[in-house]
Symmetry: D2
Subunit: 135 residues, 4 copies
């Protein structure tokens, strides 16, 4: 079994991401992580809009855990990673980190569910994705 | 002709609204103003969802002008106002301010267009609203 | 030992809180929860700015867990709660929920650390707060 | 006199930038424009943090005008431009557009003031910038 690939997206910190504490606002990391998950999905050939149009599905966040280890700051150039931890019929767990060089600033586990756009109920992950995630 | 009523919504400033400059981030004022316009619309008996369901329309921002006079800060309790400036067939201009006590912090003019949910093209403002705005 | 009080803040959902999936964006719940924690703190007599000025401290999020059970929607009037789960020397765990009437939409556990504004290192929670949280 | 250079930053649209109307939320364009202005500033050799540290100044938005011509949508890859319109002692006006291919979606004029970090009062734009902006 091969090791799952780690996808990484560079993300710059702007004023819009920070707060009056002088560092990145804690909810902004979720935005960074959504960007990374979307670009990671794109490496499999699918945009959000594409998944909706072609399969009538969308991935929604079912639960998440986040550890804030060190604060990111204005102008930092971060690397935001995404990597499959575990894939099920309608679910996938994604490990994500936010790094600045070799420092890990944030660690997260994000549980996604593939739901039907019509019913908002769980449906099978499209095979083109699940086949690659289960490797 | 009667003077148009000024609607006012109290808005508290949280960390999420501020940036590393120590004050409210400039785009956050647009959020405050959207909240005020929505509650102002509600004084006429309509929620956003209600307008969509009953009339198949939504108000979208067509253009805006904003003057930032003084910065708002963490924990400030602001008053965000909304008041009709001019109403047309499918348009309405709204004057908005952000105040802290007697100080005016931000002044804005927001031009809204009533569009069809289906075509996204301009349609007449529902009469229940336009009748009151033209007074 | 008395049961810890549950604080609750009403929060309205606006367009700014939603996404193209038609429901509230998952990171927006963190914003709602920050608002509730801030107002909950205020019931003890302290604003964020007040804590900074009087004690030179600020509460930062160290980790969090979130379960998304049902989606909130545009125009919903939500109740966002906050309640002490456990309080330590420089830490406090807060249970938070987002409800719509009797439905629980989101459940969270947020771990805060009290840090010095100067060093960003953990320091004791001011006694005026810790005394009440340990009851 | 040479024509002012037009800087352009590619920006991808994610769920976080959209709203329940199915398109990009109107305030999100201000975020896109802040990112473009920051990277445009970086082409002159200065980050926000660098300006603060080296000169003790920060650029704040004094006023802005925005025209929303066509909506941007989920997954769009936009180009966000920035270009000096007029430069004064402590001020600079920046023309900005948001484009999708050849379509102009949004046009804006943003007036910035260079203020002292200490007093928040207008001060001269650092010469390294003003010299290039006045060309």
């Amino acid at each position: 079994m091969s090791k799952p690939k780690i996808f990484s997206l560079p993300v710059r910190v702007y004023f819009q991401d920070t707060d009056a504490g002088g560092v990145v606002y804690h909810a902004s990391y979720l935005n960074f992580m959504e960007r990374a998950r979307t670009e990671w999905l794109r490496t499999y050939g699918y945009s959000n809009a594409g998944l909706m149009k072609e399969f009538g599905v969308v991935f929604v966040v079912r639960s998440l855990k986040l550890d804030y280890l060190k604060p990111a700051q204005l102008d930092d150039l971060l690397d935001v990673t995404a990597q499959v931890k575990e894939a099920g019929r309608s679910r996938v767990s994604v490990l994500q980190t936010v790094r600045r060089g070799h420092e890990v600033l944030t660690e997260a586990e994000v549980h996604l569910v593939c739901v039907s756009l019509e019913s908002f109920k769980p449906v099978s992950v499209p095979e083109v994705l699940s086949e690659q995630w289960k490797k």
